[in-house]
Amino acid sequence: MPFAPPSGTIRVRFFARYAELVGRAEAAVSVPLPATVGDVVRRVREQLPGACDIPERPLTAVNLRHVKLDASVRDGDEVALLPPIAGG
């Protein structure tokens, strides 16, 4: 049997202008593991219509914490792509 690398399903969340660009609030994205947040962003930008207008290096969070793009992701993680923060 050919070797199949393990893959994980990541729940990706979109907000504000990014949600308008892709026309949705979330998507399930499959990535070969091990993978980083940057891999998830790349896959989103390649696969989802409208997502190519999201920056290559957006602000990101995994499971409600800010992370950099080299942070690793696991099956079942929630990755959020965050437009520039404007709270307060």
């Binding site: 907000f15 504000a16 920056p55 602000l59 950099k68 437009p83 923060i85 404007a86 709270g87 307060g88």
Partner: protein, 147 residues
């Protein structure tokens, strides 16, 4: 604890949360929707958020403020939805034994909110247009740099 509301912020409720006989200094900060000379006829701002992360991040930020200023009490509300010019989008109240810690805790919370709390705003303008803006009120059409 919920730090988010869709109603006008009641400052009295926040003051009551942190009031204590041992706290002699109280500092309150209100951030209000602005239509100044740098804005293009703003009538209101629509605030949206990654609600669960806002709650988690504000829990961490207020805990950090209390660590920096032992004995201080900190209360925060961020309003979401359509907020007209002149009404508050955020209120922070910090109380401590002395004024220096109250000012420090209050300042720490608002600066970290600006940096970390995932809230976004869309300016609604008198000409009928609506524009996503960053923390400084500039349109967010150009790609942002990663932190």
């Amino acid at each position: 604890m919920t730090y988010l509301t869709r109603d006008p912020i009641a400052l009295d409720a926040l003051l009551a949360e942190v009031s204590s006989p041992a706290r002699g200094g109280t500092c309150a900060f209100l951030g209000t929707v602005r239509n100044g000379p740098d804005e293009a006829g703003v009538t209101a701002i629509e605030y949206s958020a990654y609600d669960v992360m806002v709650e988690a991040e504000l829990e961490r930020i207020t805990a950090e403020a209390r660590e920096r200023c032992p004995g201080a009490g900190v209360a925060v509300r961020h309003r979401l939805g359509m907020i007209p010019v002149g009404e508050a989008s955020i209120a922070i109240v910090a109380a401590a034994s002395h004024r220096a810690q109250a000012f420090e805790a209050c300042r720490y919370v608002i600066e970290e909110v600006k940096r970390r709390v995932p809230v976004w705003k869309k300016e609604l303008r008198a000409d009928g247009s609506a524009v996503w803006v960053d923390a400084s009120g500039h349109p967010t059409t150009s790609p942002p740099a990663h932190v």
